[in-house]
Amino acid sequence: MHARPLSLTMGGIALLLVSLSFAISIGAVQIPLGTVWSVFLNKLSPGLIDQTWSQGREAIIWEIRFPRALLAMMVGAGLAMVGASLQAVTRNPLADPHLLGISSGGAFGAILALLHTGLFIGLLTVPLLAFLGALGATGLVLGVSRFANAMTADRLVLAGVAVSFIIMAGANVLIFLGDPRAHHVVVFWMLGGLGLAQWSQLVYPLVVLIMCSVWLLLRAENLNAMTIGDETASTLGIPVARFRLSVFVAGALITGVMVAFSGIIGFVGLMIPHIARMLVGGDYRRVLPASALIGAVFLLWADMAARTVMAPEDMPIGIVTGLVGGIFFVWLLARRKVA
């Protein structure tokens, strides 16, 4: 029934490239698609195409929109794969990177840097503290689950929710104590945005994303087994508790680095894996790559919407994903079949 994986893959990649082209072309300054790819090709091999465009346009394409679109793809792909993996190891079709409490941990770190510590190591201070906050939150979830003897799937989810509430309370204290004039920068981290993307920093999410997704893909069959049940997975030779924790940590690494550069972008991890399963079935060897691809495409378009709806103002992308995700959730509920 999923007999045409090759054409589906080719179609997906074509869709991704088309979306990428549009994402770079559309904005406050409309740029023809031809110019987008000419600039790209000229960057790859200078002098390949005669320059017929202004330096200003080249700067918009190459310095602003390309890194922004690439960050969108990485964040979308990463969050979708994390969501898919967490859904398997918690056997909870509503699992999402937020459940780990890591998104709130990341926001906590970012708020701490923005309102209290100052940029003591330059521009990387905020992403670094956000990342450390995300990892700290994950550590806390794992600690709490061990302390409360909550290593089973559902109790681990509850531990994540509990930690998430506590960290959010802490983050709100930081906002309350901070300088009210700086609140608008905090809003950026709470609602998400891709506007900070720069070539020099893209390597961090890229490296983490590649390492963690390869690790997850190699364990696709274990993820399949986890959807049947802990005990059955254990009789297939999988060290269930340890595997679940490892997936949490991999998910925390991906989410942490994405939150560090783009703030909290909700619902991608929850929604995209369901769409992926509808298209390619439930086998994680297909669900993971399909989620990554659909997630990347989705976030490109969500960012386009965020940039154009209130142009020239950038709307926080979290508003777009929250709106689409919420409506999707209602539709899923009405369909009464959680795929």
Partner: protein, 266 residues
Amino acid sequence: MTAASLSVQDLSWSPGRGGEPLLHSTSFDLAAGRVLGIVGPNGAGKTTLLRMLYRYYRPATGTVHIDGEDIWTLPARSVAQRVAAVLQEQPSDFALTIGEIVALGRAPHRRGFTGTTGAHDKEMIDRALGLLNLHGLADRHLGTLSGGERQRVLVARALAQEPRLLILDEPTNHLDIRHQLEVLDLIRNLPLTIVTSLHDLNLAADLCDDVLLLNSGHTVGFGTPSQVLSETAVSNAFLVEARRERLTPSESDHLTFHLQNKGQQL
């Protein structure tokens, strides 16, 4: 398929540190190819015992040997190549097809991480699907099947694992009579060593070569059904009055159960 011998020595388990044991010292030997039924009232320790046999619970004391090898000195994967289990866990519907679920049984036998399916894997999956009459359902999703069909899927998944010891937890629960008979018929004819918990004592007596009767975590008896399932032992374990009666015209024994002290003032 080949059968393995099972040897259980001084096995006990308690939850957490220093908790009251749910299963007290239990020992028995099961020869290769025999069918063992584990019976007893609710909370007797049947599931606890099974969980130690399929290496989910680590015993507080004692050992489990399969073909002479201690399952806790072997890696989990090696045990998974020998022991498969059909449990009461209900898989959540994550859009896996029946074929994909049965294929999971091959996981412990695969080399490397990539999970490529070899010719032998395909053959075993095909055979398991055939044995349980599931070929027509291979592309369906679990959520669309009836309870009996789901149970057959879980048995097929376990058989695809090529186990030498098959463990079943209440395999006839929630099945209608026809499907109960089918599953039991299959169990009887598998050339494997089988350990199964069962609620129905008459079914156990009919199906099993050996029976282990548990009560409050203690072994009440181990042996052939006629030895273990005496009127007194069953009456004491289940707090009922059990009577062995003779069925006509089949001329077979059948246990009937009655509440004790009926009519007495409380």
